[in-house]
């Protein structure tokens, strides 16, 4: 009784934000990643794809960039161009930074830019 409901029940909850870093090649394939394996691979691919597109659009605009920072209300994406690919850092923005357990983890480039 209720077996189908148990099997296909949607769990309430909010999707977590990605945290960690990954390196991708020029085709957007992930080479290394520290993002939790439970995080949907499809979303990781979308991050890679969009980051590469922004770099590529900048090149098309004759203004190539070495680094980009995308700031959302709850996530910061820092990407550094790497021979056509990129290294991407993902930082969920916590409510109160002083309570953040791993606050010392800062992307070197972002820290250097002060952004």
């Amino acid at each position: 009784m209720g077996l189908l409901k148990k099997l296909f029940r949607r769990q309430a909850g909010v999707q977590e934000l990605p945290s960690g870093s990954l390196t991708i090649d020029r085709n957007g394939n992930t080479i290394t990643s520290t993002i939790s394996s439970s995080y949907p691979a499809q979303l990781v691919r979308e991050i890679s794809k969009n980051v590469l597109k922004i770099f590529s659009e900048a090149r098309d605009a004759q203004s190539p960039l070495a680094e980009i920072n995308i700031h959302f209300a709850s996530l910061r994406v820092t990407a550094r161009e790497l021979r056509g690919g990129a290294i991407i850092f993902l930082f969920p923005q916590v409510a109160m930074p002083h309570q953040m357990p791993n606050k010392s983890v800062v992307a070197p480039a972002a820290a250097a830019n002060g952004q």
Binding site: V14, Q15, L17, P18, L43, E46, I47, N50, K53, I54, E57, A58, D60, A61, Q62, S63, P64, L65, A66, E67, I68, N69, I70, H71, F72, A73, S74, L75, V77, Q93, A95, M96, N113, G114, Q115
Partner: protein, 364 residues
């Protein structure tokens, strides 16, 4: 169950009483500690379920309800629907982590006074607390919050025809104006240090703003003797005449604006600025590469926005980019997209603040 006091006493009783509803006990405690520090020193109660909150509202009078949306059993929207029906005078604030425009629309449709995201609250704590303080302090006696698509002349005529006695408080950006009406007669006006007829004429030039009806001040001295209709007619004629002078003024303003922007660019030390209105041609200072920059900025913001939506990362604040030659920031302000480029030596940790400052004064 406590007995409610009535009339003015009740108003005083619930002046600074806040009820917070959220299913997370830790969050409730944090909010409670934060809210008791408001200047009006409110009494703060908490509830962890919709049923508990409604029971408390039944038992006591509150001034403000701060409500989460995502809760078990009775969700926030259901609570708000009940509250709207049973406690129409209660001010309501939605404080939620759900960054969904649909919920925002639904909450405002239920008549909430404020919809605030928890992430925004943490980023703009001061602004949030100011809003709450304002909601706590706002005079409930008489008054409504505004009428859309009505000109100021319409509003004044409406008040006069209704033979109302009221103090109209008008706000337009940082400017505040007051118009005193007594039994449908215009008795005084005040704006930017001007009084009487002069002030009233100045106020009529306002094209937009907000207004609220405050309680009448019957003892306010009369400074305007002319009838309101005569003054409205004179002002309308004067506005017609001044339209002819507008073209010349617009040209002068455009020239002044260009000079101002160039000097701003130089003073702040930015390399170039490209401003992209939602429609029409981009404006640019300091670069010939306008179309390419504009295209990149629009495309990048769109890509980033889409990414943010997919990741549920909240609204996009800005994009920063850097290379050996420059640092670029792309951000939205007042419906315009701005691309601001800074030389690499300008990286001093305050690039965002400097860009925001530059962009804020751009259309001044």
């Amino acid at each position: 169950m406590e007995e409610r006091s009535s009339g003015a006493d009740a108003g005083m009783e619930n002046q600074s009483k806040i009820l917070i509803l959220d299913d997370e006990a830790d969050w409730l405690e944090m909010c409670r500690e934060m809210l008791v520090q408001l200047p009006s020193k409110p009494e703060v109660r908490t509830a962890t379920s919709g049923a508990h909150a409604v029971a408390q509202l039944d038992a006591e009078q509150f001034r403000l309800l701060i409500c989460d949306l995502k809760m078990p059993r009775i969700d926030g929207l259901q609570v708000l629907a009940i509250v709207r029906r049973r406690f129409p005078d209660l001010r309501t604030v939605v404080l939620t982590g759900l960054e969904d425009e649909e919920f925002r629309s639904r909450a405002y449709a239920l008549g909430v006074d404020l919809f605030w995201l928890k992430t925004d609250m943490q980023q703009n704590m001061k602004m949030f607390l100011d809003c709450l303080e304002s909601l706590l302090g706002r005079d409930m006696a008489d008054g409504f919050r505004g009428i859309q698509n009505k000109s100021l002349m319409d509003i004044i005529q409406m008040e006069c025809l209704s033979r109302n006695s009221t103090l109209l408080r008008l706000t337009r950006g940082p400017l505040i104006a007051k118009i005193w009406l007594q039994d449908g007669e215009l008795i005084d006006a005040e704006v930017q240090g001007a009084h009487g007829e002069t002030a009233f004429r100045k106020i009529l030039y306002w094209k937009s703003g907000t207004f609220e009806n405050l309680p009448a001040e019957p003892n306010h001295p009369r400074a305007i003797q002319k009838s309101v209709n005569a003054l409205l007619l004179e002002s309308a004629q004067s506005m017609d005449e001044s339209e002819e002078q507008q073209t010349e003024i617009i040209e002068k303003t455009a020239h002044r604006k260009t000079v101002w922007r160039i000097s701003l660019l130089t003073r702040e030390g930015a390399e170039f600025v490209v401003a992209l209105p939602p429609e029409g041609e981009p404006e640019a200072w300091g670069t010939q590469n306008v179309e390419l920059h504009a295209k990149w900025a629009r495309r990048s913001m769109e890509l980033a926005r889409q990414l943010g939506e997919r990741l549920e990362a909240g609204p996009l604040s800005y994009i920063g980019g850097s290379c050996a030659e420059r640092n670029v920031l792309v951000l939205n302000r007042d419906n315009k997209l701005f691309v601001v480029s800074w030389p690499p030596d300008k990286v001093d940790g305050q690039l965002l603040e400097r860009t925001k400052k530059l962009v804020a004064s751009w259309d001044s």
